[in-house]
């Protein structure tokens, strides 16, 4: 790994509650992820992996320690500034898909672009391209209820990549998919990572999904237990 890291956590703590009820969700986490990496974050529930993802995704802030995004400390950012950072640099894929129901695939995908204030024609063109990329060309007018779970998750990816983010954050993206759909989904992520150079950070507890990644970080009790680079089988 060379060059400046895309994101960097320095001695990050995240503590909930006070005194007796204090819970250390993260304790002294140091982590650096470089552009173009495909990282799987693993760990039991309660190990701190989701908290870590929330901080990386600028949805939460560390209790102490520093989170640097492209070398800039995010510590001083307001709630609104973090929203702008998410808008311009981050893409999210959630376990529960989190698409807006009764809203077509195209409308779902163009949502982040609406917040960017993009013109309608360009918005549509880019949303179509993103849907095309995830293999859903021709399904623009379908609502989530008319799509299978696998297709819904693809719409979610299209929505995450439509704004060409610096990093894609996926929180257990295959949690609601069957094995076959999960593997299809992972192959799509790998393809985006290799061909578009998209940086991917994915939380999962399934070892065979984590195997698609180049690097696996394991959490245990709020600390990084292991951090290993996998030699690609392909």
């Amino acid at each position: 790994m060379s060059g400046a890291p895309l994101i960097e956590l320095r001695s990050v703590y995240r503590i909930y509650g006070r005194g007796e009820a204090e819970i250390r969700a993260l304790a002294a986490v140091d982590l650096a992820i470089h552009p173009g990496e495909f990282v799987a974050v693993m760990g039991a529930s309660g190990s701190g992996k989701s908290t870590c993802m929330n901080i990386v995704g600028c949805l939460d802030t560390p209790t102490s320690g520093a989170y640097l995004f492209q070398g800039v400390d995010t510590g001083g950012l307001s709630r609104d500034q973090r929203a702008l950072l998410r808008r311009h640099y981050l893409g999210f894929v959630f376990q529960g898909f989190n698409l807006l129901d009764r809203t077509t695939a195209l409308e779902n995908v163009e949502l982040p672009l609406i917040y960017r204030g993009m013109q309608r024609s360009e918005r549509h063109a880019r949303a179509r391209r993103a849907l095309d990329k995830v293999g859903l060309a021709g399904r623009e007018r379908h609502t989530p209820a008319e799509l299978s779970g696998g297709q819904q998750q693809r719409v979610a990816i299209a929505r995450a990549i439509v704004s060409e983010p610096a990093i894609l954050l996926a929180d257990e993206p295959t949690g609601n998919l069957d094995t076959q759909r999960s593997h299809e989904f992972m192959r799509l992520l790998v393809e985006l990572n290799r061909e578009e150079g998209l940086t991917v950070v994915m939380v999962t507890h399934e070892a065979d999904m984590a195997d698609y990644a180049q690097r696996i970080i394991r959490f245990r009790d709020g600390r990084v237990e292991s951090d290993s680079t996998v030699e690609s089988a392909a």
Binding site: L59, A83, R102
Partner: protein
Amino acid sequence: MYWNTLLLALREMRRNLLRSTLTMLGIIIGVAAVITLVTLGRGATVHVASEIAGLGSNLLHLRPGSRNRGPGGISGPIEPFSLADVKAVEREIGGVKAIAPIASKTLLTVYGNSNWSTRVNGTSNGYFAARNWAVSHGRPFTESELQSGRSVCILGATVRSELFDREDPLGASLRLGRVSCQVVGVLESKGQSPFGSDQDDQILMPLKAYQRRIAGNRDVNLIYVSAKRSELTVKVKRDIEQLMRQRRRIASDQDDSFNVRDMKEVAARVSSTTRTMTSLLGAVATVSLLVGGIGIMNIMLVSVTERTREIGIRLALGARERNVLLQFLVEAVVLSSVGGVSGIVLGVLSAWAGAGMLGVPLVLSAEIILIAFGFSALVGVVFGYFPARQAARLDPIQALRHE
């Protein structure tokens, strides 16, 4: 940006079409009620005013009897006017267009097999000008008929239709009580008076004939005086009061033993009463608009709770606080404004139907429509703000976890 927010709000309304419609119903009914009631109220005011004007332009009623009645009722007997009083007014008072003495009584009238009880007015040709009447068929009285007191009469439209049906009444002879009388004319129809009585239910005959053949005295019970111009009524009224006090020899410390009433005053009083009623109805309708606003707040709060997860998604995708605030605010305003516009359409339609039913003119004012619309939009802003702020302040992590 604002256009996009509007777009999101419209999409949201489409997603929940039934709920949006039901929410708007409160505003629709509120706005429609305000517009209908105020429009009908104004129509009624205009109607009453024009009806009163139709009673006779710039009309004064001169009646015997005291204007100020004490707690003990009328003091002393009422002294009627005489033809001499009428002549005096005619001679001494300037600015008078027409003057008509009236003496009247309700009598049973008979023609052939038909009979009808009606008011018989002994008067002069001045009556037509003073009270805005026209003879639609036949002729008014001739000078010799008035002078000699010949027994001729002119029928109101109601009397004519009750006694003669389709038969031509001209030249026919009918009986008024014990007196026989020849029909020389028929009055045009005026319909109901603003106070609800049938103005066409009357018979006119020369005052002299009435006094001699029916009343058996020379009394005049009422004098109509019509001023030449509207602004003259006050002066004419004052002059008549002075003249009558002189003629009746009323000392300066005594009350009038007669009264002069200006129909314009009556019209103003009636109009002001109707206006008060209009404001009252409008106020009641405004309360319903307010209730509609609270309905919007209710639904918006439910909507925020129900869409917590959606708000989480939006925040995660990079929506700022003000984007979410604006989205919910715009949704509330769009709901209330669309409700307002529908309410205006409904209100105008029902005002139109109501005006037709009540027989009052449709007095649509752009002012009240604008106010109703502005108010409904304002309701959206006021009652939409609180739920919108709730939504904007949600924690994205909590919101995303919300089931």
